[in-house]
Structures are given as C-alpha cells and as structure tokens.
Symmetry: D2
Subunit: 262 residues, 4 copies
C-alpha cells in the first residue's frame, strides 16, 4: 500500500517558512573536553530547516533519523556534517541546530584542593546556509555561576557588603576553535570570586575575603568579561549577559553587551 | 439528540481513584488583604475529587463550572463552600483544591521609607471529606524571599561574610484565622534581613550592616521561624522550609522541619 | 552623612553597556481590554537602559521608582511615557521595557454557550531611543493555545487522526493600535480548532468533528496566521511561532516565520 | 590557624530539624540498564540528614564529599552505602537522597522498526533511618509520555476523537528489584498508545488507528497501570499519576491513586 505524502502537496497559502522542525528532543551526546578528550553528556536539541513556499510540510521523522545516524558521534566537530545532511535529506536551503547540555569540570577548592565537579550549562547554535560562510554561523556559549560582591554596599557600610550568586552567559563566534574551559575561566576570573562544589573552612575564608577585596557590579563583570574576550583575536563576535540574584531584593540585576569586531 | 454519558459507565478495573480533576487552570481571584480588605490577583488551580470504583470517569467540565459560579468571590472564606459544591456536583466523598497566587504588600525601605511593592508567592490547599473535620484540612502558606548571612563565613574571615537570597516557605494549619501578612512578618524577622523592592543608599547601608550583625544558617532561620510559630497557639501544625541560593556554590543549602502540636 | 556614589565613578574598562537594569520584577498592572476598558493583571517586568562607557554603574533603585510613579496606570498607552521617564531619570540614551502578563477573555462554548475564562500569556516589548522613531519599537504579542489535527495522520489512517494542544505565539509591530483580542482571534481561527475553558458534551462533539474536518500541520497554522496578518495593513512587521505538543512523540513540532513589510 | 567550628555550637532555639542538606546538585551518574548493564546519565541530587536540637548547623561540604567518593559508582545498588556513609560522616540518625535523571531506551517504530532513542525522566528517593528497615524506604519512579484518546469524544462524535500527549508517573516500593524498563512497559501498555521517537508513515497510520481503537480517560490509564502493578507481588506500595495535556483545553486533566498492600 502506498500512503499519500501530504507534506509534498501544495499549501493553501504560499508563504515560505523560515524554520520548521523539532523542539526539545533529548539525546545523549559527546562534547569536546580539554582534559579528557570527550565528555559524555545529554543534549536538548532544537533542529530546523527552512521550507519553501511550494511545499505544505516538512518531514519531521527525518530530523531524528539524521541525529541517529551520528549517534555516538554528536559533537561540535560534526555539527557542520549534521547540518549538511539535514539540508540534503530535507531538500532545504538552510539548516539550524541548537543544543543545550550540562558540562562538568573537576574543580579544586582554592586552599585545601578538595576536588569536586562543577556543572555548567553550555550550548551550541549553528546554522548552515546554501552558500557556506565558513565558521560564520556557529555560536558556542556557556552559563557560569559566580559570586559578585556589591561595590556600593561595601563602600557605604561600616562592615560587610551584600553579595550573591550571579550567572554569566558568554556566547562567542570564533575563527579558531575555543574550549568551553577557556570561556569558563574568563567568566570566573571576571567576577568577585568563582563558586565551587566543595569548600572546607579554610577555602570558605579565602573565598569570602577574596570576594570582599574584589567588589563588582553586574556592569563591572560584563565589562571585565568583554575586555578579556576582546584580547582574544580569534573571537570576532560575542555577547555577555550577567544576572545577579540580588541578596537584598526579590528581583534580579542584569547587564548585557554585544560586540562585533570589524 | 442524547449523547451517551461514557463517564457513568462501569470501568474495566474497579479501583477507586483518590484524586481526579483538573490541573493548572488560571483564574482571577480575590484574596483577603489585611490593609485593603481584598486584593485582586491571579490563581493557578488544581481541583480534584475522589472517584469510586464503580464509575469510569468524572465530569471535568463541572470543576470549571463550580469555579465560575463563585467568580468574583473566590477567596479563602469561600473555599469551604467551593469544596462543598464540588463534592455535591460531582457526587464525591472528598474534594480538594489547591491554589497558588502572587500576593503583593507595600513595603517601606528601612531608612528613607521609599515605598515599593513586594511580591510573595502564596498558596492555599484545602480538602473536604465526607465527615467534616472543622478547619482541619486547610493549609495556608507563603514563600518569602529573605537575605541570609553565613555565621561560619563571618566567624572565620578577616572581613566580610558571604550572604545570599534565601527563600522561606511557611505552611500552617490553624484554629483561628491568620493573615498572610503575619506569616510574612514572621519569616522576614527570622532571617539576617528582609529583602526590599526599593533601597536607596542609606537603606542599603542599613540592610548590609544589619545582616552582618545578624548571621543565620538555613538551620537558624528554620528554627527561628519555628520558635515564632510555636508561640502562636492558634497554629496546630506547621512546616518550614528554607532554601539558600548560596553565593559561594552553584547548588543550594536547605533545611526543613514540621511540627504537629499535641 | 554623605554616602559616596560609586556608580558615578569611572569604570576600569571603558566599554559601553547595551542594556543594564532589573529582571523578573512582578508588579500589578492594568492592560487595555476591548470589552471592559481595563483589565487588572500581574506583570513580570524586565527594564533596562544603556550605560555609556564613562559610568561605572546604573542606579537600580530608580527603575522601580519609575514604575511606582505610574502605579495604577501601567498600561500600553503609558509605555512611551514610562520609557521617557526612565531615560531622563537614568541619563540614558535608550530605555527598554518588557512585560509579560496573563490576560483573560470570557469565552463561550460553541454549542451550549457555557461561559468560562480563557487565559492567554501576553507580552509587550518596547524600546525608546534618543531620536524617537514613532511607534517603531513597540512589539505586542500573545501566546494562544489551540488544537491541531495532523493532515498526514488523517489522510493515511482508516479512522481517527492524531491531534494535540499547540501553542501559537504572535508578535506584531503596528502603525495603528491592535487589540490583543484581535491577535487571539486570528490565532484561534488559524488552527484546527480553538480550545475552550468549558465544553459540555455537545460542545466536545462539535470541537472534535470540527478539528477532524480542518486538519493543519504546524506549517499550515503558521501560514494561515501569516496570511491573516498580511491582510492587516496597519501591521508592518510580525513573527509567528507554532509549537505542537505532538501526541505521538515525546518531543515537539515547531514552525517559525517572520515578515517585514516594505 | 584553627578556624572555629560554628556549626558545632549550640543553637539559640533547640528545635530538631528533620532534613538539612543540599539541593539541586548536578552530578554524572551510572544507572542500571537492563540491556546494557549500566547507562551513563546526569543526576540532579537533593541530599539531607536530620539535625538534632543541640547542634547549630550541619556540615554542608561533607554531602558533596560523600558523593565524590562514590564518583563513578553512583547507582541504585550503592544508594544504601551512600546513605550509610552520609549518616556516619554527619553523625545523623537519618539520611535522605533524591535523584532525578533522564533515562534513555532504544525504541523501534511499530511497523518499520525505525530505531530511535526515547527519553524518560526517572527518579530514586531513598531514606535510611537508625534502625534499618530493609528495602522499606526506597522509591523508584519514572515519568512516561504516552498518547491518550478520549472515550467520550470518540463515542459522541461522528468521526475522529480528541487525543493528546499524557504523562504517566509511576512510583513503587518493592521487595525484589524491578527494572525501570518494566515500569515503562507497564505505563506504555496502559495508555491508548505509546509515543515514539521516530514514526514513518506506516507507523503513524498504525499508531493513529491503534489509539482510536483503544480510547482511555486519565482515570482508565491510572486504573490500568494500577491493575498491572497489583499483579506484581514484589511491589508492596505504589502511586500512579496521569496528567493529560488536553488538546481541547488550555488546562490539564489529572488522576492520582496510591495503593499500599497489606
């Protein structure tokens, strides 16, 4: 029995669709890890192609099929290949892939060297268009929890200073590969202090004092990250977001900047 | 045309169902406000009844119909009536209603008296059983963001102390009505400092110094809240949860206790 | 005692910041309602200004102060005024406001006319720049849950067809005011069927049969919405997103298109 | 330098705390997989102990240290050991561990056998008290997305029937180990149809028709799961939750039941 292919029929309204595909598909992946080579983790995927005005629908099952073909080899080096296959298999002019995943790094406490695993939310967003613009459409990003201590509070108070967990989101486009570890390091060095999975008392003392001596507004953090990213010539575009879960308010403080290099 | 009532037929497996109904229904409500009498807000409802083993299904549309009949009069004083109507309309032995809603209180900054609105997430959970046990099954609760400053960090550090936003969740059963405002006051007085919608510099100085002089672990906060609730004789059960968004970690610190009075 | 104004000092890195301000502030608001004039609801605000490279920080308390001054008059007609005040009070060249809020419309069941309240998530995003470009930077949007029935499934199956809840997100820029109610109507007419708060059995029969006779892919829904928006000359930009919580998969189907009129 | 141990001092209010510890800690884990032996995934942990009234605070860093010691060996067989170590290390009378994790199973499409990976959210909740009650306090659970087709809609409509994605949550306590795969199978066999990662057209036809021939209310699904769990004598307690993302409403339908065997 031949089942009709409704997707290939003509739509009522001939309007091209920018992106059509699947959202929130979870899939185990491997990502490049500076120390271990590869790290196994779990990705949440959004995958789209464009749809010309003459086709009623795309073929949703093929998106998952393409992922399946790469199976144990879904990592950043293969994303160009995945997009290429998606474009081919779906007869599309453009293909887009977004994947969000937890990434773990072993981290030592600053004084006792107590080891623990820190988790970071990372992401890759990639697009492939008909005319390939090399590297141009890959964004690598990561969210890094940090500690920020308020310069105003420190300056006006007899003792103490309010501080809080903040979240730095860095996204970059680059000409030469950059490790997630490098972006994380940039973020952690730009705040009042990094945060840690394990802190024994001597470590907690160190972190508390370090943050107190190193006060930063969200604005300061965003600019410090930007300054460090500007010094990396292989990065030709980036955005920095900093969100502070203010300890003195129920709402958050926020800063955002975006720089495209000439 | 008479449409068959499938719900009233006999199910394949004659197993009674504890709770059946609707979830995540949003509805505008009025809640009791100590200052203004009534406050308009928006509730998210879960509403259930039990279903005896002999009926295949409940009648989902009646849950919304009952809410509709109360329309502008959905507040805590009417919850008993709503549950009673639900039980009747659905021929049930028990009825359950949970509603979660934002609640606003005007709050002054501690020094400048700058006025702003603080939002708290509040909730009511109520059950009515066949034999009415007066008052016994109503829980009133609220989540209160606060500031906590770590006693350990303060004690071991030359200067400063890590602090962060925490969230206190209080739930109570009572014999005599208690205002949300009272629970919020108890929570805010049990932390290192309340948080505020607006703080000018003199206020920020005050809050910073107050928190520094008033360090509290999550455990301390939970116990202080409990101590205050124990002094209120009209409360015969309560639970206290405290969650700290630790400024030195990516994960949270947590304490929970529950006390039922004899 | 004069407290130092750290925000007004010079930053270490003189990099301009695109957006700085507050996030996730909840505040009661009034929004324009086609039937009732005004509807009271609760907004979640993000409010930002730009920060020139020469200033270390913005003054976060002023964002909430400005909101407070408008208090009971926070609705779409006043957004231009709010942005203007923000720009002035914070000495900024640009100001941005995003507000997300639940919006309720009374809705009749299609056959029995049973009345209930439907909730929609709506939003406004507005920006004001130094040189005012009239109307250009206001986006009005709404998320509308609908029912979609799969044309492929219907066409290939002997009976039945898989269907599911979908969510249409419309965002528009316009030259002449458009009601949320109009956007909602466009969305609901573009799916296989609207969804309803209350359906009695004759209504459920009607909706089931209507959806079966009116199958739509996410692509069809997106295009039908686009076609309807294109016929409204006062709209000069729009985007349409459709997400289907596929009943046959654990992941979602998705379509997106954006059109800017010449 | 010896840093003071504030946690070991006496609290202001001598109230025992039921649970104190850490929340939302992400950590890579291995879980038992019926086909592959072990499956690598990522857990989100809540870990608590009790705190007697005489101690001011617990030692938060030790929770993460204990996890670290098990590192690559965090799976269900070791949970008893982890709890034991927690109790010892923290001098507690009880220890509690909750872990939530995505779990993947390779799944064939029903007709074409197209292979894909299905993701399920699973969880383990375990407690250890001073007097060990063997096995008594371990709960294994899983959330299974399924398809449900409304019996009422089918019965009253000329053609078609509304259907939707539903989510079944099963939690069990057992005397003899049960695989997650078994719980998932029970859930998938209790709905109108399982859902799949990949469906080609012949599969979609099959699923559509199967669901149409197999209509189920949330109540029916809950009871069918319960019936199947009752036939497994090694299970001495279970709860079943079913939530339908109704395709004809903006809110959800819900059923819950809990059975403790004598």
């Amino acid at each position: 029995m031949i089942l009709p292919d409704i997707q290939n029929t003509t739509p009522e309204f001939k309007i091209p669709i920018d992106k059509v595909g699947i959202k929130n598909l979870k899939y185990p992946i491997k990502v490049l890890d500076r120390n271990k080579g590869l790290q196994a983790t779990i990705g949440e995927f959004n995958i789209y192609v464009d749809l010309p005005s003459r086709f009623k629908g795309t073929h949703m099952s093929r998106f998952v099929e393409v992922l399946n073909e790469f199976k144990d080899e879904i990592h950043i080096k293969n994303i160009g290949m995945i997009l290429k296959k998606l474009k081919e298999r779906l007869n599309a002019k453009s293909a887009h892939l977004e994947v969000f995943f937890p990434y773990f790094i072993e981290k030592k406490a600053p004084i006792t060297n107590a080891l623990g695993l820190m988790e970071y939310q990372a992401f890759v967003k990639a697009s492939l268009y008909s005319k390939i613009k090399e590297g141009e459409d890959l964004i690598l990003g990561v969210k890094v929890p940090v500690m920020t201590l308020c310069p105003c509070s420190k300056s006006i108070s007899k003792f103490g200073a309010h501080n809080q967990r903040g979240l730095i989101t860095i996204a970059v486009k680059f000409k030469k590969f950059i490790w997630l570890e490098e972006l994380i390091e940039i973020a952690e060095k730009s705040a009042s202090s990094p945060v840690y999975p394990i802190l024994k008392r001597p470590d907690e003392k160190f972190v508390t004092e370090k943050a107190y001596e190193n006060p930063k507004f969200v604005e300061d953090v965003a600019r410090t990250v930007a300054e460090k990213l500007l010094s990396r010539k292989e990065i030709y575009w980036f955005s920095v977001e900093v969100e502070n879960f203010e300890s003195i308010h129920g709402h958050n403080a926020y800063a955002f900047l975006e720089i495209k290099r000439d």
